[in-house]
């Protein structure tokens, strides 16, 4: 696992992680909450209506609202996973694998890093697995001196391991 290759930075100089995090939060606080409220309003309307056909139509609308909320969650997670913000790289990668039913083994401590570092580490792995999903893989995230080192074993068709060093003051 240790590498004798020279460290190479992965985070681009212009970091967008805080903007992405804010964008996901806006989805949560705005449209997502409005959809939940809309769903409640539809549920109330179902109670007030007597016509079975009208009630059935409202229930179909409610199902549609649920589908939209689910799609909004997927988009939000692609922008900045809520678990990454709440709990860091390890839990976020486990959530990523769980959603996609990937047999991903994640070895990561509870240590938190600055947003740009966590985002770089998370998206390095997620992008690699998005490009070639469905293969067994192990990912380890560890601090090594002034860097966070992300090591991905398997998960790509060529079977090569990949390693990313992210500067972390």
């Amino acid at each position: 696992m240790p590498s004798d290759r020279p460290p190479r930075p992965a985070a681009p100089p212009a970091d967008r992680s805080s903007a992405r995090r804010d964008l996901e939060r806006r989805l949560h606080d705005g449209p997502a909450l409005r959809l939940s409220t809309l769903s409640i309003e539809l549920g109330l309307a179902v109670v007030e209506l007597r016509d079975p056909a009208a009630r059935a139509r409202l229930r179909r609308l409610q199902r549609e609202v649920e589908v939209i909320a689910e799609e909004l969650r997927d988009i939000g997670a692609a922008i900045y996973p809520p678990v990454l913000a709440a709990a860091g790289v390890g839990p976020a990668l486990r959530a990523y694998a769980e959603r996609r039913r990937l047999p991903l083994t994640v070895v990561a401590g509870p240590e938190r890093f600055p947003d740009p570092v966590e985002a770089a580490a998370y998206f390095a792995v997620a992008d690699a697995l998005d490009a070639d999903p469905g293969r067994a893989a192990t990912v380890t995230v560890r601090r090594e001196g002034a860097n966070v080192v992300v090591w991905l074993s398997g998960g790509t068709s060529d079977g090569a391991d990949s390693e990313v060093w992210i500067p972390c003051g």
């Binding site: 949560h28 939940s36 409640i40 609202v65 769980e98 039913r101």
Partner: protein, 220 residues
């Protein structure tokens, strides 16, 4: 049933209040944050408190308030609502309690029947988990060497009852064994499942829930 609501989104809170009243529940109060809920329940007991996870105080004020309420009012049911259905939050909720507790998506409890069913199951002592999350957990790829297969039949019984939210005393009563015997079984389950000591509580609860869900084949 007597209920109280804590949610910082005013429109959602008002809608939820109306839905609860339409379902025939007695609303003790509706407040915008966790601290106000804790203060309210200090004098007004409820059967179930409904809490948004992401509200003041702090980023996850609903979880903070839920932990306080569980300590001060262990018999009060807790329903945590969120826009997210994530294992991370489930684990944190199960650290607060593994009985009389629920975790559901906000837009999925928006009917009189589903809301009342959820509240009733929590009041009855059950764990209620958002079906989509439960399904994801059940369908997660299992390790080739499934550690649960190492459990004896009796240990599997203990694990199932833990997952149903029973206390150690309740498990002992159900299985006609002593409390000491139950503790021994639980220690053995931890060892066989190779649970790290520092994370035993939430791992124990999550694994118990997983085992329970798998055995029940819960549908999403």
């Amino acid at each position: 049933m007597r209920v109280a609501v804590a949610e910082d989104g005013a429109l959602f809170r008002e809608g939820l209040v109306m839905l609860l009243q339409a379902a025939g529940h007695e609303l003790v109060g509706a407040v915008p944050d966790g601290d106000a809920l804790v203060a309210l329940l200090a004098t007004e007991p409820v059967d179930v408190a409904i809490l948004d996870i992401r509200m003041p105080p702090g980023p996850d004020g609903g979880l903070t308030a839920a932990a306080l309420l569980r300590a001060s009012h262990p018999g009060t049911g807790l329903l945590l609502l969120s826009h997210y259905a994530e294992t991370h939050y489930l684990m944190r909720i199960l650290e607060i309690g593994s009985e009389r507790i629920g975790y559901r998506l906000k837009e999925r409890i928006a009917g009189v029947k589903v809301l009342s069913d959820t509240l009733q199951r929590i009041a009855d002592g059950e764990i209620v988990i958002e079906p989509a999350l439960a399904k994801r957990l059940v369908e997660a790829p299992r390790q080739a060497d499934d550690p649960l297969s190492a459990l004896t039949e009796r240990e599997a019984d203990v694990l199932r009852l833990m997952a149903e939210g029973r206390s150690n005393g309740g498990i002992a009563g159900e299985l006609f064994v002593s409390g000491k015997a139950v503790e021994k079984h639980i220690a053995s389950i931890f060892t066989k499942l190779d649970l790290p000591g520092d994370a035993a509580v939430h791992h124990r609860r999550v694994l118990a829930v997983l085992a329970y869900l798998r055995s029940r084949r819960v549908e999403g």
